[in-house]
């Protein structure tokens, strides 16, 4: 990897952390009205896993995967609009958290029922297989979700159909307050792979380079058409399930042990020792991170509130032609799945959605009222 790539990874990990730190502040200030779920400690896993992907690949993230969104070009502005329930957020204020994404940019938006996104990942991968593409799907879930039926149905179906899916388990020690030993009776969650006839490995999820190596092996396997693979990234949720959770059920010594393995500090130490990271480069990255977060918050706070007169709108998608995502011309706005037909504008989840600059909110033309 070039030094530029190393620095980019470092930037994305720090941006992920800084976005979440600011989100927490906004929550404590009462400016975010709903639940806030962050992932301090996951940055090596989320950023590292997504860094192994190529153009045309798709991510199926869970609710703590801001790092994946940012790697794939997710817009910090859109993320902040979403947290602050603005009318121009990707969900137009209909949903909160990181429940955002659009298929034109290869992101399946998560829901709160953890594990349910994995069968959906199979459908995306099934389409790629049917269309004979070399693209793949990276689908993640937590240790808690591995206990659900859909997790097992998805892994089994993916393996039987030889679907191009890399399943990432972010094992952060707890499903809300329930520790691993009350959830499963095996040592490593990657052992689940054996039962479904796919390769599986467990990796230090706080070591971004180790994550990239392990997930890289998995993506290579999957891309070659041999079927799915599973990687368990062992990490730790050093904060509560949500910001309303003090997580006093976590032994202090355990938390401190993991805080000492902070993925950003570890990567920074590596970069300093092995890649000649300079103080000037660090300062530059810190400044860019701060500027990006400030801009996102400023933008979101200046954005319009959701329009209450639209509360009963957008129940049904309008009639019209649809494209198969990823085919030539599929982004032509004449296709109703190429743009957000609720607003008549491009999807706003990504950084390249420039129209978000002026925060215009156009009244939808084809509203289907129930």
């Amino acid at each position: 990897m070039s030094k530029e790539t190393y620095l980019h990874i470092y930037y994305l990990m720090r941006l992920t952390r800084a976005m979440e730190d600011r989100t927490r502040t906004l929550f404590l200030q009462g400016r975010i009205v709903g639940g806030v779920y962050t992932a301090q400690g996951h940055e090596a896993t989320t950023v590292g896993a997504a860094m192994t992907l190529r153009d045309g690949d798709c991510i199926v993230p869970q609710h703590r995967d801001l790092g994946m969104h940012l790697v794939r070009g997710g817009s910090p502005r859109a993320v902040m609009c979403q947290w602050l329930a603005r009318g121009n957020s990707p969900t137009l204020g209909r949903d909160g958290q990181l429940h955002i994404g659009d298929m034109q940019h290869g992101i399946v938006p998560p829901i709160s029922m953890l594990g349910e996104s994995l069968p959906v990942a199979c459908g995306v991968a099934l389409t790629m297989k049917m269309r004979k593409r070399s693209t793949i799907v990276l689908a993640s879930c937590g240790d808690g979700a591995t206990n659900t039926g859909p997790f097992h149905e998805a892994l089994n179906f993916a393996s039987v159909q030889k679907l191009p899916v890399v399943f990432i388990i972010e094992n952060n020690g707890y499903a809300y307050s329930t520790p691993g030993q009350k959830q499963y009776a095996i040592q490593n969650l990657s052992e689940r792979a054996l039962a479904y006839g796919m390769p599986g490995e467990s990796v230090d999820g706080n070591d971004v380079l180790a994550v990239m190596e392990a997930v890289g092996r998995a993506t290579e396997h999957v891309r070659s058409g041999k079927g799915p693979a599973l990687v368990e990234c062992k990490t730790f949720r050093v904060r509560g399930h949500s910001e309303a959770d003090k997580a006093d059920y976590v032994p202090q010594a355990l938390r401190e042990e993991w805080l000492a393995k902070d993925p950003i500090q570890r990567f920074e130490a590596y970069l300093t020792e092995e890649q000649n990271l300079t103080e000037a480069e660090k300062a530059d990255i810190a400044a860019r991170v701060k500027e990006t977060v400030d801009d996102a918050v400023r933008f979101a706070e200046q954005s319009p509130a959701s329009d209450p007169s639209t509360v009963a709108d957008y129940v049904f998608a309008p009639d019209g032609p649809t494209a198969i995502v990823g085919e030539p011309d599929a982004d032509n706005p004449r296709f109703i799945n190429a743009i957000d037909t609720r607003t008549g504008q491009p999807f706003t989840t990504m950084i390249d959605a420039r129209h978000i600059e002026d925060a215009r909110f156009v009244a939808p033309q084809e509203v289907v009222r129930r």
Binding site: V108, E116, C122, F157, V315, F316
Partner: protein, 327 residues
């Protein structure tokens, strides 16, 4: 030109849509090599191959969830539930994933979930379900129930071409009913979703029904004409969500009496919502109580005498209609 059954019409719709649009494919349990538990998809695997006619593991969340994922990619999957009762195993994918998707993020989910519904086949509590009310209550999914061979084909085609999740309920009692054999148009046609159809004209009472109950209602209407000199209008709702309120309200405004008949259980059923709509919108037009005939609020029973006691039929409809007509 030969006639086809209700079941064959469903198979024709799938085949013709697969020929018309490469985005359309079928997945479900035993739909490929075996041709489906009721043989709806017989011959499709041979014609389209295993990539477009997919035999899946017994895993409804994977079947429906994969359909959602493919639909997000712009495919038009048809997910078969071997018996519609098993849709509960994939409930979350429908309620929380598919139905909220467009509303939440603006991405259409063009998919069909279909399967055999309804009782009268000695199927017992797990092979006789009429699950429409759960989904009727859910914003973002359309629910349709064809009762004729013509509609079975035309509505399935419309459902496949729709840009939303559509639950398509086929009544297994109608699958091979000889009386339902029809000669279908040779050219492509659809029956638009959201439109009811009047199966019998009348001025004395409106009967609102759907699915296999249409035939019980028509039988009762004939008796009422012959024995009671009553002209009963029978409206086949066909599409439960969206409902064709225009047709319903127009008829009841004219007849001033309304009887609602469904095979599903009474409480919280389609009839409950129809009753509320009619009471709210047509209060001053009604000359008698809005009356419902439905299954009792219990699970679907197995033993023949219990099944017969459970299901609404022409006789029960007659009794209710006569009581209503007396007002």
């Amino acid at each position: 030109m030969s006639t086809v059954t209700y079941l064959e019409a469903i198979g024709q719709a799938i085949r013709e849509e697969m020929l018309r649009d490469e985005a359309v494919f079928l997945l479900g349990e035993d739909v490929g090599t075996y041709g489906g538990a009721f043989k709806v998809s017989a011959g499709l695997l041979e014609e389209f191959g295993p990539e477009r006619v997919i035999d899946t593991p017994m895993a409804e969340a994977a079947i429906i969830g994969s359909a959602v994922g493919a639909a997000l990619m712009g495919m038009r999957p048809i997910a078969e539930m071997q018996f519609i009762d098993f849709i509960t195993c994939g409930f979350d994918q429908i309620i929380n994933m598919a139905s909220k998707m467009y509303w939440r993020v603006g991405m259409p989910v063009p998919m069909v979930i279909r399967g055999p519904a309804g009782g009268g086949t000695k199927g017992g509590p797990f092979h006789s379900a009429s699950p429409e009310a759960w989904f009727f209550h859910t914003p973002g999914i359309k629910v349709v129930v064809p009762s004729t061979t013509y509609d079975a084909k035309g509505m399935l085609k419309a459902a496949i071409r729709d840009n939303n999740p559509v639950l398509y309920l086929e009544h297994k009692l109608l699958y091979r009913l000889p009386e339902l054999r029809e000669e279908l148009p040779t050219e492509d046609y659809i029956v638009p979703l959201g439109k009811a159809i009047t199966r019998r004209d009348g001025e004395d009472m409106t009967v609102l029904t759907y699915g296999a109950m249409v035939y019980q209602c028509l039988r009762a209407a004939q008796t009422l004409e012959q024995e009671d000199d009553l002209e009963v209008e029978v409206i086949d709702l066909r599409s439960l969500s969206p409902l064709d309120l225009e047709t319903i309200l127009e008829s009841v405004k004219r007849t001033n009496k309304v009887l609602i008949v469904h095979e599903d259980t009474l409480t919280g059923g389609i009839g409950a919502e129809l009753s509320a709509i009619l009471a709210e919108d047509l209060f001053e037009y009604l000359d008698g109580p809005i009356t419902r005939v439905a299954a009792p609020d219990v699970a679907f029973p197995y033993a023949p005498p219990l099944e017969a006691a459970y299901l609404p039929n022409a006789e029960k409809i007659l009794t209710a209609a006569r009581k209503l007509a007396a007002y």
